[in-house]
Amino acid sequence: MEQVIANGLYLGAQYALIALGLTLIFALMNVLNFAHGQMYVLGGFVTYSIYGQLKLPFVVALVCSGVTLAVVGALMEKFLFRPVIQRSKREESTMLLAAATAFFLDAIILLLFGEKQRGVPKIISGVFISDRVILPYDRIVVGVVAILMIAAFMLYMQYSKPGRAMRALAQDRIAAQLMGVKVERYSMIGFALGAMLAGVVGGLLVTITGVNSGIGGPISIKAFLMVMIGGAGVVAGAIAGGFILGMMESVGLTVLREYGDVTYLAIFALLMIFLSIRPNGLMGKPWG
């Protein structure tokens, strides 16, 4: 059982970090970023190229993944989402745009990095073995880094000036504007930050799960699941959603294994029941 809990916590930390960027962009701009998984994949490939191919230090690769995706995110906000939000009153316009960017990034990534699964050397070798738990050291490191990054992100959002401005934007866009918050500037910073988080987690996890050009869609779906559980647009909710999903997956795969692949069937069934009782998720607010 201890192994199952350890697996769940580790998966949860990964998932929470994936969901953070998605929920941030939703909170700030009311945009469901379907391209979040593709951004994760791009981040993974940047780390693969720099750490795996050019043999530069892993930290350099991770920083490059973050910076690359931050730039991609800022450009997407400025040239794609901002004009659409200004010109269209229909919310589905941004959803369609996000879906289009997801397909576009999928095609570009396939073209640039090919169809093969890619992997990089382990950042740390060895396995922690006790009587009850077996956990490779690199998973422990990645889990701890993920938790540290989540903590740093929350502190940044809570105490920094941009963080406060973004929270104000998420709470009430018009009121924030009236109070002097530069909406366009902080929307762009928020989108870049969300994309950067996707890139960094993609770079971090490429050391364990590798990366291939086709996994963007499934990653996005999992991120949406976490956001639905925790509540759309709530940072703490995304973290809770990530850990809950990780734990459900780990427990389900052990307890339900003799019944075949019913773990995700059970998770989806529970999610439907849960959302019918709490449509806004654990921590979401009815007003957005």
Binding site: Q3, V4, N7, G8, Y10, L11, Q14, G52, D106, A107, L110, G114, E115, K116, Q117, R118, G119, V120, P121, K122, V127, I129, I134, P136, R139, L205, I208, T209, G210, N212, S213, G214, I215, G217, P218, I219, E249, S250, L253, T254, R257, E258, Y259, G260, D261, Y264
Partner: protein, 403 residues
């Protein structure tokens, strides 16, 4: 006045003659060129995007590499004519509906020979189109109903798991002392049907099957939770049924890191670079099946194919050791019976007696097989090379043949 008329007339006559001569020369010069530049279109319908992109991409790239090579050396002589090979591709995105659309497109282009689809449901979906439009297709899918009469247009492009599995388990039972086997498969039709036939084969050999219902989502990125309960059962052999090349290194790595020390095998072709990058030395000892996978059985032509493929696409894919064969079979069969070029019934007639030297593997022959499994010859004879991965390369464990 009269002489002016004559001059004008003779000038016009000269011009007309000149024009006719130029036209005649032009027509004459194009005629042999047209004869030399006849085009033979070969289709591909399969998956070249998404998580399973590697399967179809290795098909397409093998076909393109070989077609370019043949065209570069003057084309292919079939009967009296020489043909330039053109590869027409369609990405079905692993969606049976798109596979049907792809096959329709091939029919509209007048194509009679199509490589693919790569998966069971796509291969089953295109059958009515192929049969009604006169297309012979070469799926990489294992359902026997595609190849058993009355079906007759599908020809299996590789060794099926129900053919390689028993041979591998028998070898491992006799040579490595395997007694307990665990199976795991992705929760999709192909891997599950492969798992079920693997389980049946293992039981028939008297092996104890300790896990036979375990599955995973194909988009799983971390297999530790999936494998934890299986590793605790301590099997001697863990079979990754129908595993995609993208998932194989992740499964191997997770199993080894959980302390699994037994053997791991798969009956599908894998890529050495992907295994090395994804699992490194943890993949050493992994057993899989390839076409002309190991240097010791390759011919110089196969070496050149690999060289050309690598030059064209930057990196070779070991799955192409199997995928290289379909185009070769189509061309060689058409050479044996040129009437089959636009008549699939003629192609079918040739299948039974066709035989040609295998240009890619030593001591091997190109011929159609499948009589034992399907009751008719509806399978390409591809060397069944069972390999063991070691430090970035495949080593031959044993070579078998399908009847």
């Amino acid at each position: 006045m009269g002489s002016e008329m004559i001059n004008r007339r003779s000038t016009l006559k000269s011009l007309a003659l000149g024009a006719v001569s130029i036209l005649a020369i032009a027509v004459a010069s194009t005629l042999p060129a047209q004869a030399e530049n006849k085009e033979l279109k070969i289709g591909f319908v399969g998956v070249t995007s998404g998580p399973a992109a590697a399967w179809g991409t290795s098909n397409v790239r093998s076909m393109q590499t070989r077609a370019d090579w043949l065209n570069e050396t003057g084309g292919v002589k079939i009967g009296e004519d020489t043909y330039k090979i053109t590869i027409v591709t369609f990405d079905d995105q692993k969606d049976p509906k798109r596979a049907i659309a792809g096959m329709e497109k091939m029919a509209q282009e007048g194509i009679h020979f199509v490589v693919g689809p790569n998966v069971d449901d796509g291969a089953a979906a295109v059958r009515p189109v192929a049969e009604s439009k006169g297309i012979i297709y070469f799926p990489y899918a294992f359902p026997k109903s595609l190849y058993v009469a009355p079906a007759s247009n599908a020809i299996l492009g590789m060794v099926a798991n129900y053919q390689s599995g028993p041979a591998i388990y028998k070898y491992l039972k006799e040579n490595k002392g395997v007694k307990k086997v665990a199976f795991i498969a992705a929760n999709e039709s192909d891997p599950i049907s492969q798992r079920d036939s693997g389980v049946a084969a293992a039981k028939e050999l008297g092996l104890e099957v300790v896990a036979e219902t375990d599955t995973y989502q194909n988009d799983t990125r971390d297999f530790t939770p999936v494998l934890t309960p299986i590793v605790q059962l301590k099997p001697d052999l863990l079979v990754l049924s129908g595993v995609a090349p993208a998932n194989a290194p992740l499964l191997i790595r997770a199993a080894r890191e959980l302390g699994y020390e037994g053997l791991i095998s798969a009956e599908t072709a894998q890529d050495a670079t992907v295994l090395q990058e994804g699992a490194g030395e943890l993949a050493n000892g992994f057993i899989s099946v390839g076409g002309a996978s190991t240097p010791e059985i390759r011919t110089p032509l196969m070496e050149e194919f690999i060289e050309r493929y690598t030059k064209k696409f930057g990196e070779y894919n070991d799955e192409s050791n199997t995928k290289v064969y379909a185009l070769e079979y189509i061309i060689e069969t058409l050479k044996a019976n040129p009437k089959a070029i636009d008549n699939v019934e003629e192609f079918k007639k040739t299948i039974d007696s066709f035989s040609a030297p295998n240009p890619y593997a030593k001591d091997s022959t190109l011929k159609y097989v499948g009589s034992t499994s399907f009751g008719q010859k509806r399978q390409l004879s591809v060397p069944m090379v069972v390999t063991e991965f070691e430090n970035g390369t495949f080593k031959t464990l044993f070579v078998g043949e399908v009847d």
